[in-house]
Structure formats: C-alpha cells, structure tokens
C-alpha cells in the first residue's frame, strides 16, 4: 500500500452539457408509457473532444498549463477513427507541445485505464502531472432502451505526486472477453445481447469479482469506506450490485444521477467520482469501480488538500444550469433523421494547411498583447491595431478570460443544425474583442451587457474534416476553487 501513497488525484472536474432531454419526451414520441427523469444531451456543436476540453479547462483552474507533462483522453466516441484526439485537446487547452499524449478507447473502462497509465507513469518518474480527460456521447437505437439510458458528459482529473486531494491506496483489475455491450466498426448505435445475460454474466459477475478482489487484496470491508462509486447502467442494477456487495444504499453508495444525467458511458464513473470528491472531507476513504470488458477498482483516501475546493458546488451548479429540448431537436442534432438542408451553398472543404498554420490562434485561442501600447488583440497581428508598431508582441490566451456581450443578433439565415445562430461581439474584462457565435443560450434571455465565457466547439464538418473553434456562452458556473 505504501508505494501508492504519494500519487493521487490533484484536481478534478465534471462537465455536464447545458441541454436535457426528458425520457417522457422520448416515450411520448413513440407512444409509450411515460417515464421519469431526463438525460444530459450534448449540443449540436459538441462532441467528445469539445466536452473533454470543457472538463479539462475547469480542471486546470489555478494551475499552470505548462506544468502538465501528459494528456490521456478516453472515450468510445471519437470524432476521428484515425487521428489522435488527445493532441487536439492538448492544443485547445494550451498545454505545452513537448508532452506525451494518447487516446484510450473501445471500452467503457477506458477512463480508468488512462488513469492507471497516468499513475504508473508518475510512479515510474517519467511524469509529474498527467491530465486525464474522459468524455462520451453514445447513441442508442431510436425507440430502444439504450436511447432512454444514454446521456452525454465528461470529467477530467490531474494525477500527480503533489498536492493530491485523494491519494490512491490501491487498485485491482479483472480483464474479460465478452459480447455483452458493443459497437462494431459498422455500427452507429450500441448493440447488446439479451439483457438477462448482460446482467448476470456480464455486469453483476465482473463487478462483484473485482470489488471482492480489491477488498481481499487490501484486507478491507465495506464498512471501511465512506463512499462507494460503481458503474451502473441503471439505478436498479446499482441497487442489486450494492446489496450483493454489502454496501449501504442509503448514502454510502454514490447515486448514479441516472434521473438527471443518464448513463454517460466511459465518463460515468469519472463523473460520479468527481461528485463524490466534491462532497468528501479529509480522511474519507472512497472505493470506486468501473466496468467494461472486465472491471477496474480503486481505493482512494481523501487528504486535507480537498479544502482547496468549494464543497458540493460544481456539479449542482451545472445541473441547475440547463435547458430542455424536444425529441425532434435531438434527432436532428444527432443527424438520425435527414432534414431539408439550408438554402445556402455547400461549405468548402477546409484547408488542412490553413488549419495547421493557425493551430495556436484557432485551437488555443491565442491572440497577442502589444508590448509597446499594451493593446490586447485577436487574432494575432503582425502590426499593432492601435499603435501600428511592427512585431512587438507576446502571445495572449483568451480562452480562460471572461467578457461581456457588447452586441448580438439572432440570425435565422445562417446555415446551422440549430437555428438561429446568435452572432456576438464579446469584449473581455482584461481587454480585447472577439466576434464569435454564442452557444448554449436561451435566445429570449440574451441581452447586451450580459457576462459571457468562452467554450470550445465544433464549427463545421466538411470534406471529412471536423473544424473546431471557440464560441461564447452565457456565464454558467463560477470558480471551482475557494
């Protein structure tokens, strides 16, 4: 146990998309019996990459991005089959270029695999601070059970051997080959075998095997833990597995947030772990286990560093900041049903050369600050817009700066999956202006002077290239740190 003590979670964060789809909405569309609860739904301009960036930005609060030695990204829903997402996320987060990046894929426990690799790297001395981002947005067949269950979301951790809020005391892994839930390279929707088999020989067998394994390995019992976080496809199975393992369902086992979020796949356990950490106090011991082609279980001990965080703030504020959509909108956003294209010419294929050349300004949202007159400007200029001095600039990152809305319009003519496009002029509190689209907004509530923040989004998909940039959104949450 001693060997693990110094390594643990230093920072943590959760990203919950702004939109919710009520299960009753889906049921009504298909003429089925009403169901309770809702699921978190990524906006049409979001994907796993952008949600990972959102979680990652929050996770980096109060920390120098240049101190991150590696970034691991885990998901089962990568925008690209071939082309690394982690490198793109690192560029958007403004991390240094001399870092190790890797994608962890294919399994719902990929996030825990990424965390394990990060811990091993730190233990081996090849890294000090490794960031892990986990995000998923799986789609189930329309009118199917998975569609009801699946939600979208992300979480991020920084693993470190310094200032850890939760030290890793132990872990245990079980690998297993099984076709219980899967998606082939030909599938859009998640496939699964008969639910009795999935439940008995998949989920219940493997989760109990791994948890009993870790308890035995470290000679512990359920009573030694203040909190247990288990992957669970739905609340019913969470109940069953908790009872079977001997954990108390009244508070000891972390609620799966099924009614508020849904099953966020790879991101579920990382998100729930962040929720548990947000509620934790120094000295708490947390057990958590993720599931997928086996099972991975960890024991954490919460330290005094947890006092850096505002208790129970972050997740609740993101749950409260929400807007409901109807089922038709969801089908359109996910491109499940074709709709009439906008009466605009098709978009040109982006130039890979131009995207590459502009990577720092575009993905990292770096502008410049003039050393002569102090003017902050975006995009980066060669000649200062104010004093006309040539090339006396330092890079300036806008992504984490707050601003106010100077003017806007709701544009119904612009080609988009979700009209209207809200075009905005944003003036930043510390100087500088960017013109961009506004996302995650309630058009009725948009007004001049409102505070806004920046969020990384998918701008367009054209010629097989996903084009990412930044948008503004109404200020959603405050600072996670005290």
């Amino acid at each position: 146990m001693g060997e693990y003590k110094v390594v643990g979670i230093r920072n943590f964060s959760v990203y919950i998309p702004f939109y919710r789809l009520g299960r009753g909405e889906i049921a009504q569309a298909w003429g089925r019996k009403p169901l309770s609860g809702e699921k978190a739904v990524a906006n049409h301009d979001e994907d796993s990459i952008t949600m990972a960036v959102a979680a990652g930005m929050d996770c980096l609060t109060g920390m120098d991005a240049q101190s991150i030695d590696g970034l691991y990204f885990a998901s089962t829903t990568f925008p690209y089959k071939e082309k690394q997402s982690a490198a793109l996320i690192a560029a958007a987060l403004g991390l240094g270029s001399e870092i190790f990046t890797a994608d962890f894929s294919s399994s719902l426990r990929a996030g825990m695999s990424a965390m394990r690799s990060a811990v091993d790297a730190i233990k081996a001395g090849s890294a000090k601070n490794v960031m892990v981002c986990v995000a998923d947005m799986r789609t189930g067949y329309p009118n199917g059970g998975s569609e009801m269950d699946f939600g979208d979301g992300a979480a991020s951790f920084i693993l470190s051997n310094d200032k850890v809020v939760a030290a890793i005391e132990g872990n245990h892994t079980v690998a297993d080959e099984i076709n219980d839930v899967w998606r082939s390279d030909k599938d859009t929707f998640v496939q699964s075998w008969e639910d009795r088999f999935v439940r008995e020989k998949g989920y219940l067998r493997l989760l109990t095997e791994a948890v009993w394994g870790i308890l035995k390995k470290y000679d512990m019992a359920p009573k030694d833990f203040s909190k247990a976080v288990f992957y669970a496809p739905n609340p019913r199975l969470l109940n069953t597995v908790s009872r079977k393992l001997g954990f108390d369902n009244n508070g000891q086992v972390q609620d799966s947030l099924y009614d508020a979020l849904g099953n966020t796949g790879t991101a579920l356990v990382p998100m729930l772990l962040s929720v548990a950490l947000e509620q934790a106090v120094a000295g708490d011991r947390i057990l958590f286990a993720s599931y997928g082609d086996g099972c991975e279980a960890y024991i954490l001990k919460v330290t005094n560093q947890i006092n850096r965080y505002r208790r129970g703030d972050r997740v609740r504020s993101q749950l409260v900041s929400r807007k409901s959509i109807n089922y038709q909108k969801y089908l359109r956003w996910r491109e499940i049903i074709p709709v009439e294209p906008p009466a605009r010419p098709p978009l040109d294929r982006p130039s890979a050369v131009a995207l590459w050349r502009d990577s720092k300004g575009g993905l990292g949202l770096y502008g410049v600050k003039c050393l002569e007159c102090g003017a902050i400007q975006y995009p980066a200029q060669r000649v200062c817009i104010r004093c006309h001095t040539k090339e006396k600039f330092v890079p300036y990152r806008f992504a984490d700066k707050k601003g106010t809305l100077t003017t806007f319009s709701h544009d119904n003519l612009a080609a988009t999956t979700d009209p209207p496009v809200t075009v905005a002029v944003v003036d930043f509190d510390e100087g500088g202006r960017i013109m961009c689209d506004m996302t995650d907004k309630d058009p009725e509530k948009v007004e001049v002077g409102m505070p806004v923040e920046m969020t990384f989004r998918k701008i367009r998909f054209s010629g097989s290239i996903y084009d990412y940039w930044w948008k503004c959104r109404p200020m959603r949450t405050g600072n996670p740190l005290k």
Partner: protein, 396 residues
C-alpha cells in the same frame, strides 16, 4: 495633394432593369447598359479609349467586358472592392481621364446573382477571408443580415430605443424606399408597402425582418467620362465630378473594443474626405439629394448620421419628420435604393450615380426633386467594423 473637383464630367449613362433577370446573362446586361450609355453620350463603342469593369463575382479580368462589347484591344481593368466596386470603377476611369492619358473612358458595373440558386451572397472562403480571422476556416457563421443586425441591437441599446420603437423607425425608412421604388420602371420591387407589413414580416436576423433587407438582384450600369473642358462638346448638361473618395478600414472594429457598433467609421471618414474635396461645409444644407447604401434599413439610418445629415443619435427625429422623403429637404434613395431598386453588387454604385445624374438633368419623371445642385452616392462594402466605403459627389 490636388483635388478631382471640376476636372471630370459624366457625359453618358445607362442602366438595365434590375431584378430577377432570369433570361439575361452578365454579357446581355453589359450590352444593354453600355449601349444605353453610348447612345446617351452620343458616342460609338470604338470611341472608348480605356475601360474599368466593376464586378464582385460575375467574371474575371477585363475580358468580361471586351467580349460582349467587342472592344478592340484597349486597356480594360477589372475592379473589385466589395459593394463599392461600381463606384471604384468610376473613380478609376475618372482619374485616368483627369490625368490626360485618355479623353473618353467607360466605367461599367455588372452582377449576376440570381444564377446562384439561393438568396444572399455565397459564403466562399474568399468572402470569409476578407472578413474574418487569419484562418478563414475557423470563424463564426457568416451572414450579412446577422452582422448588420448587430449594429441595430447596439444602436437601439445605446440610444434607448425599445425594439418596438427601433423597428418602427427602421420601418419608416423602408416605407419611403418602397414608395420611391414604385415610381421607377427599372426598379426590382415596385410596390408600396405599409409600416405594419415591415414590422410584422418574418425575422431574418433579429431585430431585422424581411423588409429591412435589400433585394438580391441582377443588373448592370455604366458611365462615360471625359475631361470637363471636353464635356460640352458631347452634351449641354454634363454632370461634373466634385469628389471621389474611398475609405478602407483595417478591421479595427472587429479587434478593438473602442468601436461601439452604432456607426460606421469608414463612412464617417469617406464623407469627411469627400466634403473637404468638394468644399462642402454643411452637408445637411448643401447636399440636394443622396443615394446611400441601404443594404439594410439600419445601414441607411446610421449613414444619415455618419454623413452628417442628422446629428448623432437623432436620425429618428428626421425620419419621423419626413426629412429624407421625396418631398423632404434632403431626399434619399429617390429611386428606391438597394432595398427596392435592387443590389447587384458590382452595379450598385453606378446605378446610384445613374439616378443622381438623371435628377441633376431634371429627367427623373415622377421622382424629380426641385432644383438639385449637388448629389451624393455612398457605398458600404463589408460589415460594420470592417468596411470598404465610397462617397462620391457630383453637381451641375
């Protein structure tokens, strides 16, 4: 620095019917506009010694003009300067005759938009590159109405107009433009409208509705210029050029928070330069008639202020008093403007001049205003914050 004032005169002009000219190619419209101008000036095509073709996207190089007109091996330059394209073609032709290098030059603007298959302008990367960040592929979603609507939002907010008051004021501009357009047989839209129609129309980009946005049209217009001392050999009523100014912004309004989106700096600057060149001290009193770039109703409203026709923030008072109506003290867009005459990009500047030219010659029929002496045309290419503007002044 010398002035262009009273050195060059317009001796002939032509303009096609603007609108959805389904049965006409750019070449057809070039022939119609050019031959009307030749006939008006009393010259033959062979008398043209040099030409400037203004087009935004309806043809490359001077050959676009040479081919339909069979101009024989003379110098022709294609000009592109966004919505100021036609005016800039005229400016170049005027400078060439002022320099004494040519005696007769042709400026012709043409645009064929209705072959595109949609309303508005295409979002080509070229267009985006002129407006956006260094990498055109990473930018906001562009439409012109969205950008100009932001100026309306800022204007309403700054001067304390509720959206209802703002839309009502803008609506009065379009009721006026539709009235004027109904009096011109070459205008794209020739029907009168009511204020309720404007206010209740579908929203294109909030707060701008359908009738706040100009037409998307085909058309061509042309002018023949010569040196002032030669002009009366061609006709008794030539129109003299008093000022030709273009102001091109460095996109300051997109980058610097000092710009508040309630005006257009480039229009202000081009106006100041043109008034100085023409020796005009009080534009509100001295200008008899103006054709301004009403791509959107809000553009016409802030242009009243940028060109110093109305005090800053007070255009509403003048609009409500009918100051810019056909029978007002300073009639604006007497032919219906971009809104009703139409807006084929490269042709618009020369179409505006066509109306001023006819008004100064007292040939404007039912739209004729009383005793005009000085007329002004204004174009605005790009958007607020990042514009290319022209202000041209002519007189008799």
């Amino acid at each position: 620095m010398e002035s262009i004032k009273d050195r060059v005169a317009i001796i002939g002009m032509g303009c096609t019917k603007f609108g959805e000219n389904w049965d006409m190619s750019p070449a057809d419209m070039i022939v119609d506009a050019a031959y009307e101008a030749f006939e008006d000036a009393g010259i033959e095509p062979k008398d043209v010694q040099a030409a400037w073709l203004g087009t935004y996207m309806s043809g490359l190089s001077g050959q676009t003009l040479a081919k339909p007109l069979k101009l024989s091996y003379i110098p022709i330059t294609r000009v592109e300067n966004m919505c100021a394209t036609g005016s800039d073609a005229l400016r170049n032709a005027a400078y060439a005759v002022a320099a004494g290098v040519y005696d007769i030059a042709l400026a012709l603007g043409v645009e064929k938009l209705k072959d595109n298959g949609f309303s508005g302008l295409p979002d080509t990367e070229l267009v985006q590159g002129l407006n956006f960040s260094e990498n055109t592929y990473r930018s906001r979603t562009f439409t012109a109405p969205g950008h100009f609507a932001m100026m309306a939002t800022a204007y309403f907010n700054t001067y304390g107009l509720t959206p209802e008051e703002g839309k009502r004021t803008l609506g009065m501009i379009e009721v006026k433009n539709h009235h004027n357009g109904s009096l011109h047989p070459k205008a794209h839209f020739q029907q009168e409208i009511t204020l309720d129609t404007v206010i209740n129309a579908p929203i294109i980009a909030w707060p701008l509705g359908l009738y706040d946005c100009c037409g998307v049209s085909d058309g061509a217009a042309a002018a023949i210029v010569t040196r002032k001392e030669l002009a009366r050999d061609f006709r008794s009523d030539p129109v003299d050029i008093k000022a030709l100014q273009i102001a091109v912004g460095p996109q300051e309004g997109y980058i610097s928070a000092e710009y508040d989106w309630t005006y257009v700096e480039e229009t202000l600057r081009a106006g100041q330069m043109a008034y100085q060149e023409a020796g005009i001290k009080n534009p509100r009193q001295e200008i008899s008639i103006a054709e301004v770039h009403d791509c959107f109703s809000i553009t016409e409203m802030v242009t009243y202020e940028d060109l110093q026709f109305s005090p800053r923030g007070r255009a509403k008072d003048d609009i409500e008093a009918g100051f810019f109506n056909l029978d007002g003290a300073l009639p604006v867009n007497t032919d219906g403007g971009l809104k009703c005459f139409g807006h084929p990009i490269g042709a618009s500047g020369l179409r505006m001049m066509y109306e001023i030219y006819k008004q100064l010659q007292e040939k404007a029929g039912p739209r004729q205003i009383k005793n005009p002496t000085l007329g002004l045309t204004h174009n605005l290419g790009g958007t607020p914050g990042s514009a290319t503007t022209s202000v041209l002044i002519v007189g008799n």
